[in-house]
Amino acid sequence: MKLNLRSVVLPPVLAVAFAALLCGLALLLSGANPLQAFGAMVAQVGEGTTAVDIVNSSATYYLIALAVAVGFQMKLFNIGVEGQYRIAAVTAMIVGGSISLPAGLHSLVIILVAVVAGALYAAIPALLKAYRGVSEVISTIMLNAISLGIVAFLIKPDVFGVLRSNSLSTAELPESAWVPGISLGAAGTVFGLGLLSVLAGVGYWVLMNRTRFGFELRASGESATAATAGGVNAKRMIIAAMLLSGAVAGLTALPELLGRDHTFTQNFPQGYGFSGIAIALLGRNHAVGIAFGALLWAFLDKSALALDNIGVPKEIVTIMQGAIVLSVVVAYEIVRRVQLAAEQRRVGQQLGTTNGEDKQPATTAGGGAA
């Protein structure tokens, strides 16, 4: 792929501007001052630990979005990352809290357990799809809900949980399992396992673009029939993609769990999965694109705090997230159509089928609009 900078960067910029405009209007209607609001959103980055928090959140978002993207690459819609990371997180914390190992090794074992647990929970929809033809959309919706029950069961005090104050959680990890972060003093601490997302991102890119497995995965996504004729085993790919997706999802919660919380509580936030889906789509399943998507998402998330702080309805942030997702894809689509037309024009010219005196037929681009 040639990197056409303008066509890659322009659409998201336009889309963010459009979404900001939309939300600005909504703010005006509700009597708030949009400029002040946007000012606060920008200013927050320099305040307190916000910049670090954005980085930390995006590390988490990045992992979950990668997990979603792995499935998307072969048109598998793994809504189940939500359940997979929860199961992985709680299993890893239970195991991690109940063993004692030297520092380093301890964390490593926890990471491994999380990966395996995430993959195993993803194995259910994978097997159901491969052998029973059950749509992964339904099965993962169901398994997400069931995961809540499993987690609740596991953190019961008479099972693996402990009761602290008014809250249930897993046993606290011994210090040997903690992963220290990079402390930036008052600006906060960057999670050590943030590195995990960088590694996962590089691994994802290499796997998708440079290996046989990635090729087979993408080929299956593009055309299952052509992939089969090319010797790709469809069932095996479904299972492999789903397991990989679940394994990556399993990593999601680890940066914050090993870096800050050291225990999985009943209040552990839900909904990373859906953010992950939106971010993967925003980043167009591309390792770098997802990184930007995750940063943007985290930035908007944190903006809710800054807006609340100056008395602006923070719900505007959710609207903005939705508007951005929609307008980014619309913008990309428009650019794609223009480019496709340009490419066809180029092909035509090189094959000599274009009349020299033609007026440029660029008007047809985007002409599908009803």
Partner: protein, 357 residues
């Protein structure tokens, strides 16, 4: 067309309970004896970090806000010196920390965190601002001397709710609807059961939690509250006590439709606007006086005497209690309740905060 009248009620028949001997009448005036104290809070910059919902949730956030409002009128806290921020659903830990930090670095002092979800965040933030006073509702934070816990003896209030239920049931069969099966809500259940058993040893008890710990939709789903309540009523219960947040509205409407009674929670739900239509089924509400706790805390801060605050807001300090609006608690029952209350205050009855089963 169905009339609004109860349609048959439950299937199981029953009769009122055989009641345990009534407790000795309490010495009058154990409560309300506190003389209103005065202090000057005009210099205070008060911060409130709400849990999801914020001011107006008709629940503990609102109650906390009421405490601050009272401080504005009674202690002279300036309205413009009160800063309120509230949490969004599914927000991460660092968001809570940032919220607290935002308040603290703005020079707000004291800061009240509403809800045990703030416990971990406070543990991290409070040490960073050793000169700021923090308080947290429903939790305690170990190892942070500048954090004052504002915790309640919900089980004690619920005990009285259980007594009310035992005296009111016609079938000697009462039930509890919990929103989410967390330790906090289990305290309500535990106290309620003990109270009911104490008043009527033969009473039949039933319960249903809408969702398990971690799935907080149980506080937000009146449909489920309604379904669960209907199930309990059909199995014979005719007094329902709920600790299910907004889902409790479904409990009230089930009670109304089937002609049974219900007990509200946290605030005096009889006077709550959103359940106006069903309020005639509400016998009483178990009051959890977050407002009292918050006010007392602010008072203590204004007087610079935090040590005077109770460790637990219980029956003794009117941190929990019961409401009588609606007139369904007659003076006879009230005397019984006051009797039990006195016994609890005196330590003759120990109410456990864990369900037995």
């Amino acid at each position: 067309k169905d009339s609004g009248a109860p349609s048959g009620g439950g299937t199981a028949a029953g009769s009122p309970c055989k009641l345990a001997p009534k407790p000795p009448a309490a010495a009058a005036g154990t409560s309300g004896s506190k003389t209103p104290e005065k202090a000057d809070g005009s210099a205070l910059k008060v911060g409130l970090a709400f849990d999801i919902g914020g001011r107006g949730d008709a629940s503990f956030n609102d109650s906390a806000a009421a405490g601050v409002d009272k401080a504005i009128t009674d202690l002279g806290v300036k309205k413009e010196n009160v800063k309120e921020l509230s949490a969004g659903p599914n927000e991460s830990e660092d968001a809570k920390q940032t919220r607290l930090r935002q308040l603290a670095s703005d020079g707000v002092n004291p800061i009240i965190a509403v809800g045990f979800a703030y416990a971990d965040a406070l543990k991290a933030v409070a040490p960073q601002f050793p000169n700021t006073k923090f308080a947290i509702v429903d939790a305690s934070v170990e190892g942070a001397p500048n954090v004052t816990p504002l915790v309640f003896a919900e089980e004690q209030g619920s005990f009285l709710a259980g007594v009310i239920a035992a005296y009111k049931t016609q079938k000697c069969n009462v039930a509890f609807v919990g929103g989410v099966e967390t330790p906090l809500i289990q305290k309500f259940e535990a106290g309620y059961y003990q109270g009911a058993k104490a008043a009527a040893p033969d009473i039949k008890l039933d319960k249903k939690y809408l969702t398990p710990a971690g799935d907080f939709t149980g506080f937000q789903d009146p449909s489920k509250g309604n379904a669960a309540a209907n199930g309990l009523i059909d199995r014979g219960a005719d007094v329902l006590y709920h600790a299910a947040g907004a889902s409790g509205k479904g409990v009230f409407s089930a009670a109304k439709a089937k002609g049974v009674m219900a007990i509200g929670v946290d605030s005096d739900q009889y006077n709550q606007k959103t359940v106006e239509q069903e309020r005639d089924v509400i016998i009483s509400s178990m009051l959890k006086r977050v407002d009292v706790a918050v006010f007392d805390y602010l008072l203590a801060v204004a007087k610079n005497d935090l040590a005077a605050l109770p460790k637990v807001f219980d029956l003794k300090v009117d941190g929990v209690g019961y409401s009588t609006s609606g007139g369904k608690i007659d003076s006879e029952l009230q005397a019984v309740l006051e009797g039990y209350k006195a016994q609890i205050i005196a330590g003759q009855i120990k109410v456990s905060d864990k369900p037995t089963s």
